[in-house]
Symmetry: C2
Subunit: 126 residues, 2 copies
DNA sequence: ACTATTAGTTTCCTGAAGGAAAGTAGTTTC
DNA sequence: GAAACTACTTTCCTTCAGGAAACTAATAGT
């Protein structure tokens, strides 16, 4: 195989990136779909940065959420393997929700989101 | 003011981060609200990575969108200063949509989203 | 017995998101 | 004068997200 010059490599990369836009946009769309709605990011961020929590803890912590939405969203997040649900053998029974390792892999994204959001707030205020 | 040890600084940071969770989550929530829906990310990513486009270009490029949604979303993005709308003096008139510098500041976030999304697709496939 | 707490589920409701198709309006080409 | 292209807007419709409140079921304390 012939060695390529820097220029050729650069071109190839640009070309593949150009072709890849569609795939990239599809991927971004998937993510938005996965995290869509008012609550998922808030729940994930809470579990990720505040640590594991019980149902009632989340109900109090996630500002404004009701039990129906919370339970529905938790099921959804669990089905995507972003969190785990563990029934604890206490009386009355409690249920622990914890972020998975896979869920933690969203941290970079969430932090970008938070940083941009904070700057955005500053911009709007001024 | 007394100099602080590394340990003290570390503690202080952790503490301030703990307090800041609420603000951070609010910021993340703002971002999700700003980018909510099926189309905004796709439009922004297209304009950001593919360059400026006319209405009809976007209609063809953003897979599946209709003219009503496109025009609505473009207005929304313009109102948040993420894109600009420029009427060109051609016949028939054409309208150019272009990402703003501020809109470009979302690139980091979008790239994180794309990368995570691509990995996610791989995970789901396997 | 009565109340409280846990973790939900169920029902009923409203408003917003989004799609399909047709319409508007100006200009240009055949 | 008809058709086509530009950039939309309008209407009508369906579906879904999400909220409020009541309800279930098990257990524990008083």
């Amino acid at each position: 195989m012939k060695l390529k010059s820097q220029e050729e490599i650069k071109e190839a990369i640009e070309k593949s990136c150009a072709q890849d836009h569609t795939q990239g946009i599809l991927a971004a769309r998937d993510v938005m779909e996965l995290l869509a709605g008012k609550w998922k990011i808030q729940i994930i961020a809470t579990l990720s940065f505040d640590g594991k929590k019980r149902f009632m803890d989340l109900l109090r912590h996630v500002d404004g959420i009701g039990s129906k939405m919370l339970s529905k969203e938790l099921q959804n997040l669990e089905s995507h393997q972003l969190i785990t649900r563990t029934v604890c053998n206490t009386k009355p029974i409690t249920v622990m929700y914890e972020i998975t390792e896979y869920g933690q892999s969203l941290n970079g994204l969430i932090i970008e989101m938070i940083n941009w959001g904070i700057d955005h707030r500053k911009k709007i205020m001024s």
